[in-house]
């Protein structure tokens, strides 16, 4: 009897997983690739610590991987595996940064704590803040800023052109109506993306309509059963971990409101890797293409 | 006939009653008197089947109250406790009817005018009379009353005693716990004096 109790508690504590059906339409990091420039380039700096989201990726595409000597936790590309971390979690460790003897530290508005940045500056190290990219249009601004910071503006222009050319809008017989859902099932947070969520710019890039962006007021709006059923999207776009957190496709379909939409009825649900979906950079064109293909497949 | 045979009752570790025997016949009024805390109410409770003696037996017409189901026991004996209090706002009539038919007993105890009064608004004496009325309404061969006259005025006392006498005449064993001294108990056929 006691053994049963121990087993029961063990199951309890490990949170026995219930059956998860992953959607048929998944986009992971392996499904996309980054646009990059091949030509060898000269840079104005030789030791760069990258503490901004997505900047390492851009530098990779500018063929500047070799000058990166330190990174933050969000720069998680496989190519950067061996580059030392200069952060603890999302907090910058000034001593680590200074110890790497960089001649340039790249930050953005989210890098913190501010005191750590001040310390790095007072050690005489050049700190450049680059803009963040929340929409497709922001990509070129960010690429140009990074290219300027490392002294390769021409290469920045080349990369931007390559990226712009690589974005292909798919053609659909009728524009699909897509809703982006931000899900955190474990905290019972369910939000519908609206104008400015970032997903809206991705969705219009593939030639579809973001229904949340056209009818809802804020970038992220509370999802209720009735509001989603009224939006009635043909397709639902979510992040992979978010989908997991509600119990996969079967769990999502159980949420009231979802089952009443066209997307719910046809199980037209696309999940994209969390780090991929809303990070706009050199991988975005590839993502747009992959997404366009999945949308076509899901709507068949 | 209530037969009490060599009972010993212990409460809170104290022997309240020790090796006591008694016989209470039908159709009589028996009064149990004594100072506070000497065991009068305990004896009544034992006869009622509320507590069990640790030694000896009590029977009411051969039935052991302690072994009888509440429903069956309620047909044999009725009890009016001291200090009955009411939490819900039933009327006097509704309370009495929980135990048995109310019309007759309300008349005999002068409660008809209070029939629709809510019991939570009654005075102490009125509430006690209601409690007695309910016990009588149960129409059992044994009637156990704990200090029924305590809160009553002279007139009500006379009334109650008249009613009890009539019940005894009709064959009921009436057992009353009383606080008064011997000289005022002329209405009782038998007086039991309990000493610690």
């Amino acid at each position: 009897m006691r053994r049963l109790g121990v087993i029961a508690i063990a199951i309890l504590l490990t949170g026995c997983a219930n059956s998860q059906i992953s959607s048929n339409y998944t986009i992971s990091e392996n499904d996309v690739s980054a646009i990059s420039i091949d030509a060898p380039t000269k840079f104005s700096v030789s030791r760069v610590v990258v503490l901004a989201n997505g900047v390492a990726e851009i530098m990779n595409s500018l063929n500047a991987r070799s000058i990166i000597v330190g990174r933050d936790i969000s720069s998680s590309e496989k190519a950067l595996k061996d580059v030392p971390l200069a952060t603890s979690g999302h907090q910058v460790l000034p001593e680590e940064v200074i110890a790497l003897k960089p001649d340039l530290v790249i930050i953005d508005a989210s890098t913190g704590p501010k005191a750590a940045i001040a310390q790095i500056k007072s050690a005489g190290i050049r700190v450049v803040q680059t803009p963040e990219s929340w929409t497709l249009a922001d990509i070129s601004i960010k690429v140009a800023a990074v290219a300027d910071a490392i002294g390769a503006p021409q290469q920045g222009v080349l990369l931007n052109t390559a990226i712009k050319d690589a974005i292909q809008t798919s053609t659909f017989s009728s524009k699909p109506r897509i809703a982006f859902l931000y899900l955190r099932g474990t905290s019972s947070i369910y939000l519908v993306g609206g104008p400015g969520s970032g997903a809206d710019s991705l969705i219009s890039a593939i030639g579809a309509i973001d229904v949340g962006a056209t009818s809802l007021p804020r970038p992220f709006n509370t999802m209720t059963a009735e509001s989603l059923a009224t939006l009635n999207p043909d397709l639902i776009l979510v992040m992979t971990k978010g989908l997991e957190s509600v119990g996969g496709v079967s769990g999502l379909l159980k949420l009231p409101g979802v089952a009443q939409t066209k997307a719910g009825k046809n199980e037209a649900i696309i999940d994209v890797d969390d780090s991929l979906l809303l990070s706009f950079g050199p991988r975005t064109p590839s993502l747009v293409v992959a997404l366009g293909k999945k949308v076509s497949a899901a709507l068949k | 006939m209530i037969t009490i045979n060599e009972i010993t009752i212990v409460r809170d570790g104290r022997e309240i009653i020790y090796d006591y025997s008694e016989q209470i016949p039908a159709g009589s009024i028996t009064a149990i008197v004594g100072p506070n805390g000497c065991g009068k109410s305990t004896l009544l409770a034992a006869i009622a089947g509320d507590i069990a003696p640790i030694k000896g037996t009590i029977t009411i017409d051969e039935l052991h109250p302690i072994l009888t189901s509440p429903a069956q026991l309620a047909q044999i004996r009725a009890v009016a406790i001291q200090n009955q209090s009411y939490t819900l706002g039933f009327t006097v009539k509704q309370i009495i009817e929980m135990a048995g038919p109310a019309e007759e007993v309300m008349r005999s105890l002068d409660l008809t005018s209070l029939a629709d009064r809510v019991v939570t608004t009654l005075s102490g004496g009125e509430a006690q009379r209601v409690s007695i009325a309910a016990a009588i309404a149960q129409r059992t061969p044994v009637l156990l009353l704990d200090e029924p006259l305590a809160a009553q005025d002279v007139r009500s006392r006379k009334r109650i005693i008249e009613v009890l006498k009539k019940l005894a005449e009709d064959g009921v064993s009436v057992v009353v716990v009383a606080h008064s001294n011997e000289s005022e108990l002329t209405w009782a056929d038998k007086v039991i004096k309990q000493f610690l």
């Binding site: 199951i11 219930n18 509001s227 059923a229 009224t230 009231p256 | 406790i81 309370i95 135990a99």
Partner: protein, 323 residues
């Protein structure tokens, strides 16, 4: 007039509840009389409003049973530990992968948890031999708090959407109701209500105190146990499906007694009506006051219920004697 007011209010409130919502229903009236015609109306809104009615009635009846069985004006399922037990029973069953919230299995586990917790409270307060109001409330609060803490810990430690969230268990929510949930809660409401109906006369007698109730023929421990089973079914079914909605179990019986008097048999239907009314109104408010956000329904019932508690103490009322 006062006596049929709650029933009329309930009918009106139900129609308003079905009418109000974030979605605009085209040709509302024809959709209303054609079952299944409008999906949002028939698959989302009407099931939700129906659940509100059933849950409200169940919680109110549970409160009536609690107050009757304990002969105590403050008794209600959350004070006795019943709602906490129902939540724990359901959460454990969900986490071990046995059931899903809202299923019949979950309701069974919720009812069992409710029964276990309430029995624990009764046992610790030593109610089977001697009723002690004070002990009951204190022990109940302690048992309830401990079990609620365990539910909170489990919700925090094990991150799974199907186990719901702390907010769901503590404040309740009708947002996740689907048509399938209605069967289970209907069964517990009907069975629990039937048991409540049957023991009503005994509960009247219990109000005389354990001693006197016994003297007029009531098997007090047995009646209390039956009331406990009814209470567990009613509260267990409701809580395991929509979480813990505060105050209904406390307020609805008191309001009903104020209007209709103390006889339990009369109170069964009226308490259920008032409970249903309170929850339907609270749910409609929670859905419409801050659209498109939904306010937790338990917060609204607390806001509605607090004045009731205060009125209990201040308004002179012969129906329940409060010291």
């Amino acid at each position: 007039m006062k006596k049929i007011a709650p029933a009329i209010a309930l009918v009106i409130a139900t129609f308003v509840a079905i009418y109000v919502g974030t979605a605009q229903i085209d040709s509302f009236w024809s959709a209303l009389f054609a079952p299944g015609s409008n999906e949002i109306l028939w698959q989302i809104r009407i099931p939700r409003v129906t659940a509100a009615l059933i849950v409200g009635a169940s919680l109110a009846l549970a409160g009536l049973m609690a107050q009757g069985a304990c002969n105590n004006a403050l008794a209600e399922p959350s004070i006795l530990g019943t709602t906490a037990g129902a939540a724990l029973g359901t959460v454990i069953a969900v986490l071990t992968g046995l059931v899903q919230v809202g299923s019949m299995g979950a309701i069974a586990c919720g009812a069992l948890g409710a029964l276990a917790a309430t029995s624990l409270t009764f046992k610790l307060a030593n109610l089977r031999s001697q009723l002690s109001s004070f002990a009951l409330i204190i022990v109940g609060i302690a048992v309830s708090a401990s079990i609620t803490a365990v539910v909170g810990l489990l919700s925090a430690m094990v991150t799974r959407a199907d186990a719901r969230s702390i907010s769901f268990w503590n404040f309740g929510s009708l947002a996740l109701i689907t048509r399938d949930n209605l069967v289970g809660i209907s069964i517990t409401a009907i069975v629990g209500g039937f048991i409540a109906w049957k023991i009503s006369p005994s509960l009247d007698r219990l109000s005389l105190g354990d001693a006197t109730a016994f003297h007029i023929g009531i098997d007090v421990p047995r009646v209390r146990l039956i009331a406990l089973v009814a209470l567990s079914l009613l509260a267990g079914g409701a809580v395991s499906t929509v979480g813990s909605i505060a105050f209904i179990g406390l307020a609805a019986p008191h309001i009903a007694r104020f209007i209709y008097g103390p006889i339990h048999r009369n109170l069964i239907v009226h308490t259920a009506i008032i409970g249903a009314l309170l929850v339907v109104v609270a749910d409609t408010l929670s859905r419409s006051v801050a659209q498109p956000n939904e306010l937790p329904i338990g917060l609204i019932t607390s806001l509605l219920g607090a004045p009731v508690l205060i009125a209990l103490v201040t308004v002179k009322n012969n129906v329940w004697k409060t010291q």
